[in-house]
């Protein structure tokens, strides 16, 4: 029995960063030298793990809870939709996120930056998108932090996002940045994306409609995954 394979559209040149980007020092020894081999998508690439609802409880989307008291910093609500390039929502997909605290310190043994840990903040969350592809997190705004890429390099404030989407081919790990951050112009990781419109996709929009008056600022961050290929279904 032949199986039709619903392939994903090819990556648009310039919308993804290269592997080698010398301004980001760590890529120099980790980027492959050989260009990748083209792999025609098969069932392997167009399928992927399915995480059913209820896997992560509702508390998992509230990063301000679960400790003795509230964390320090600006309370923010980050919300948006996971979509594909054809604006179709991606329901039921797992979104994991992690971030440093308001002082710019990660709760991770490798982070020894001279900024205090917050006993009331871990910075880890997960959520599964609803039937409309929507997600929503409550957290605090992360601080900038220094890293050893250059003599005075600081990462802009950012939240790490990990999204599965429907398939192995749609898997995305990215970072969300905040509008108006002066560090973006100097950040090698952000600047590695060649296309300026694609770079803009990484910056959340201030969204008062998602905030709560006298309580939390709101930011919108939509995540756009690969869409399906234009050619019609074909048997494998």
């Amino acid at each position: 029995m032949t199986t039709a394979v619903r392939r994903f559209a090819p990556t648009i040149p310039g919308t993804q960063p290269p592997y080698l980007y010398p301004d980001y020092g760590s890529t120099v020894k980790r980027a492959p030298q050989r260009p990748p081999f083209r792999l025609e998508q098969t069932l392997t690439e167009v399928t992927g793990p399915v995480f059913t609802d209820g896997w992560a409880g509702p508390e998992a989307a509230d990063l301000t809870r679960g400790h003795g008291g509230p964390p320090l910093g600006e309370r923010i609500i980050v919300a948006g939709r996971v979509l594909d390039e054809d604006a179709r929502p991606v329901p039921g997909t797992l979104v994991e996120l992690w971030q440093c605290n308001a002082a710019g310190r990660y709760r991770h043994p490798v982070d020894q930056h001279d900024a205090p840990l917050d006993p009331n903040f871990d910075g880890v969350g997960q959520v599964i998108t609803n039937a409309r592809g929507e997600y929503r997190f409550l957290t605090i705004k992360p601080g900038a932090y220094p890293w050893r890429n250059g003599p005075n390099s600081w990462r802009p404030a950012h939240i790490h996002f990990s999204v599965f989407g429907p398939a192995f081919a749609t898997r995305l790990v990215t970072q969300m940045y905040f509008p108006g951050d002066p560090l973006l112009a100097l950040d090698a990781i952000f600047q590695s994306v060649p296309d300026s419109a694609a770079r803009e996709r990484l910056i959340a929009a201030y969204a008062p409609e998602f905030g709560r008056p006298e309580w939390a600022l709101g930011y919108r961050f939509d995540i756009v995954l690969r869409g399906r290929a234009a050619t019609p279904l074909e048997p494998q």
Binding site: M1, T2, T15, K29, T47, D86, A87, F168, L202, L225
Partner: protein, 194 residues
């Protein structure tokens, strides 16, 4: 035709992903007792200097022992689903760049023209210094159907093909296969654009 949306670019996973992504139970794809031949896969991730990559995250995706994916797009009724096997694993490397996971040997799945592909595991590698994940596949060196696998056959250089073959290193129960991932330089693994 409607205007397409610009896709969200990838950014590096960074060095602190363990706090959110590390789930030790996900390194054992057999934890729910699936059917099939249980195997252990070990390896090291190395950089362009041959140094260990101690902060990599590997993700694995594979079919069950019968060659069926636990996903709605795999509708082949002749290959049964296994309710005890999701087919997804995640493991991070230790300070020496080593990883280890336990799984069952996947069955073959169809490729182009409905010809069967040889059994394989899809792998995505995330790390500091990788702005985007690397994609490769683990095949098994002792699998006779590798000869007719379309992906392996498309790689002309046998030395490059060799980088995709996990070598059986013992006959223990379960047996161990070894698969190193060399990101750059001498012995560089074959990576794919999907």
């Amino acid at each position: 035709m409607a205007e397409k949306l610009i896709p969200t670019p990838s950014q590096t996973v960074g060095p602190f992903f363990h706090m959110a992504l590390e789930r030790p139970q996900w390194s054992d794809l057999t934890r729910d007792g699936p059917a099939g031949e249980r195997i252990v896969i070990t390896g090291r991730v190395l950089d362009g200097d041959g140094m260990p990559v101690g902060d990599a995250c590997l993700e694995l995706w594979q079919a069950n022992a019968a060659g069926r994916y636990a996903h709605p797009d795999d509708t082949r009724q002749d290959r049964p689903l296994d309710p005890h096997f999701r087919g997804f694993g995640r493991v991070s490397t230790d300070a020496e760049g080593r990883f280890r996971f336990v799984t069952i040997r996947p069955g073959p799945v169809p490729g182009r023209g409905n010809a069967l592909q040889a059994p394989h595991i899809a792998v995505a590698i995330f790390a500091r210094g990788l702005l985007r994940q690397l994609v490769t596949r683990i095949y098994f060196a002792d699998e006779p159907t590798n000869e007719t696998d379309p992906v392996l056959s498309a790689i002309a250089d046998p030395a490059l093909r060799q980088t995709l073959l996990a070598q059986r290193v013992n006959d223990a129960d379960p047996p161990t296969y070894h698969f190193d991932i060399v990101l750059q330089g001498k012995g560089e693994t074959v990576f794919f654009e999907v």
